[in-house]
Amino acid sequence: MTVITEAPADAPAPARTPALRWILPAAGLTAALALPWLVYPPVALDIVALALFAIALDLLLGYTGLLSFGHAAFWGSSAYVTGLIATHYGVPFPLAVLGGAVFAMILALPIGYVSVRRSGIYFAMVTLAFAQMVYFIGYQWSDLTGGENGLQGVPRSFFGIEPVETNSFYFYYAALPILLCGMAAAWRIVHSPFGRVLVSIRDNTPRARALGYDVDRYKTIAFVLSAGLTGLAGGVFAISHGFVALTELHWTTSGDVVLMTVLGGIGTLWGGIVGAFLTVMLADQLASSGFHGIDLITGSVFILVVLLFRRGVWGTVRHQWQRRGSARRP
């Protein structure tokens, strides 16, 4: 896990002035609000949903030092549960999304409990194995999930407010708060004493244990929280598309989100947003230009980033900023 220790996660904050502390979130919020004006609204929502997904993964990867290769299980199962609740009970979609996220957390409890007993490549493989099991259940239980046909025609109920239910532009603004709350929660977790313990576990597990922290318990909680945030994102994604497919449970989805996180910068939170934005926009641009080898391009970009900017896009920018900041001060 050398990649992870390389990243200067949660670098000391004093370099930041109070003004900067507000400018960054304000700029982010403005960008989020402006996004559906600049890009096609459903694509904009994909970006924000995947950004939360990447942030949730970063919570584990960047701050706890655990590379989960099975997060599609939580993304996908929440998408299915959200879709099923919305289809069968017709409740307003935020409620359905909440149901999906809770389900993802319940699912994450046993998976996390078992997986965190291992670390590094073994942890990645155990999570992948669990995700494959969940995929198989989704594939076989076709009475419930629709199997290969997918879950079709998931409704977008929202208190009978017509524009939100039918127009993807308004729907974006209805769904955005859910995703922003998820991101705020991630920020809060990372900057809490609990988050500090996670970082200490990442940097020196034996020492954290010697200090009296129940390492496995902390890791399990982090895993469940990460799954919950992933579930929020997956649920919103399902409602936005009005459709849930097996792709959401497939291992390539787990791979894509790792790619986004690494691309943006591990252990930065903001990196997930950058990674999701770059990946989705690249895919969208290439698809509309009629180019078929999308994976070829994203793969090449990924290799370049890993070779040239090991901290990821956001990580590199922040690193340069901090270096300049500390150089100026005596």
Binding site: W22, L29, L33, E148, N149, G150, G153, N167, S168, Y170
Partner: protein
């Protein structure tokens, strides 16, 4: 204090932005009879995978032929001069088809989506057509759900369905002595629907279906499934696969030795491209349902010659079906004088049509199934092939009333 004021300022700014965002949005629309003064026909199909040859890029050319014919026929009298034909790949995946269809209607300004093979993908597109209140003329997807349980006002099924295939192939093969069937099907909407239709047709003709075996979709290796199918000693193994999957399966069937045990292979859906890919010797004598054959009469042949000049291959029935769907759509637009979906549908519904593809055709208003005469065909022996693509001999005509289920039996409750 400082931060409190800042926070208040930030939230005020946010609210202002949010409000201004909501105010000016919404789909922009022109006042004319045609949105953006043009007509957009969007072909959504498989451009790179197992169904590429059956429709794929050549369908786009067939649709362009229809546009050219329309423009030639009406000249200056055409109600719309700017007609665009676009092409999008859905990779046979329902989730991609779902997203792309929505994008085509919203961002691509598509007035109609054409083709859409893969039944699961077509159902997703039908859903989007309903949501966006724009037209979807399905040609290549066969599930009866499109004109049955999941029918809607904006969706038409143009060329064929699994009922037609089952009542042609399934019935005839059973009556010819293939009583005990084992069905192998791809485990998605098309395969599931085919299995249902075939089981009904076979049972009605006095046969039995011993077993139905699902396979993944798409799939490469069918050896285990064929062995399993052969183990119950059926008279006939019926494959419900199509396109590239069918080609793989037939090859593996011919290598498996099941033929020597006296097991016959019945093919649920076969297109001329499949015969072309494998060669007539692999299929010689096979009976199957073909909704349209390029050499079935002079009119079809004349169009097939044009298609050959355009693409270098002979058309499958899906190519001809797409041509017909595009042409009849343009005729309806001409009659309605607008691209407004509801007005165009009013012109399409109940219309009786004869064209290159549709013989005794009727666009049924009750379930939006386009019914027409089809054919029961037999694959020629290698010695009987007189020219390239001369693979089929028409055994008998299947009249529209027999080939398609009656509208009352479709289970369609046509709401908007």
């Amino acid at each position: 204090m400082e931060s409190k004021r800042m926070r208040a300022g930030a939230s005020a700014l946010t609210m202002a932005l949010l409000l201004s965002a909501c105010a000016g949005a919404g789909p922009g629309g022109g006042g004319g009879a045609f949105t953006d003064d043009k007509l957009v026909l969007a072909v959504l199909n498989d451009q790179s995978g197992i169904y590429k040859d059956a429709s794929g890029p050549n369908t786009v050319k067939a649709v362009r032929m229809a546009v050219a014919d329309y423009q030639q026929k009406y000249g200056d009298k055409a109600v719309v001069t700017k007609i665009e034909v676009t092409s999008t790949d859905h990779q046979n995946k329902p989730d991609i088809a779902n997203t792309k269809a929505s994008e085509l209607y919203e961002r691509g300004g598509a007035d109609v989506i054409l083709d859409v093979p893969t039944s699961s993908a077509a159902l997703a597109v039908a859903n989007q057509a309903k949501n966006h209140k724009r037209l979807f003329l399905d040609v290549s997807a066969a599930t009866t759900a499109l004109t049955g349980a999941q029918c809607n006002k904006y969706t038409f099924q143009w060329a064929y369905n699994t009922y037609l295939l089952a009542n042609g192939t399934g019935k005839t093969v059973t009556q010819n002595g293939g009583r005990k069937w084992t069905i192998i099907y791809p485990d998605y909407e098309f395969g599931q629907n085919m299995t249902k239709s075939f089981t009904e047709a076979i049972t009605k003709a006095g046969g039995t279906v011993q077993e139905s075996i699902p396979t993944p979709f798409p799939n490469e290796n069918f050896a285990t499934f064929l062995t399993k199918a052969g183990s119950s000693a059926p008279d006939v193994i019926g494959t419900m696969h199509a396109g590239g999957d069918l080609i793989n399966l037939v090859k593996q069937f011919n290598e498996s030795g099941l033929k020597d045990d006296g097991v016959e292979l019945a093919v649920g859906l076969m297109l001329i491209n499949d015969i072309h890919s494998l060669g007539v010797e692999q299929f010689a004598g096979t009976l199957f349902t073909d909704p349209w054959y390029w050499n079935m009469d002079a009119e079809a042949r004349a169009w097939a010659d044009r298609f050959l000049a355009e693409t270098g291959t002979r058309p499958s029935f899906e190519h001809a079906g797409n041509y017909s769907a595009a042409l009849q759509y343009l005729e309806a637009v001409q009659a309605a004088g607008t691209d407004d979906a509801d007005a165009v549908i009013a012109k399409l519904e109940g219309k009786k049509v004869n064209d290159v593809f549709l013989r005794n055709g009727e666009i049924r208003a009750q379930d939006h199934s386009v019914v027409h005469d089809a054919n029961l065909a037999r694959v020629k022996k290698p010695g009987d092939v007189k020219e390239d693509w001369d693979y089929e001999e028409i055994v008998t005509k299947i009249p529209a009333a027999e080939g398609f289920p009656p509208a009352e039996a479709s289970g369609c409750a046509m709401t908007s």
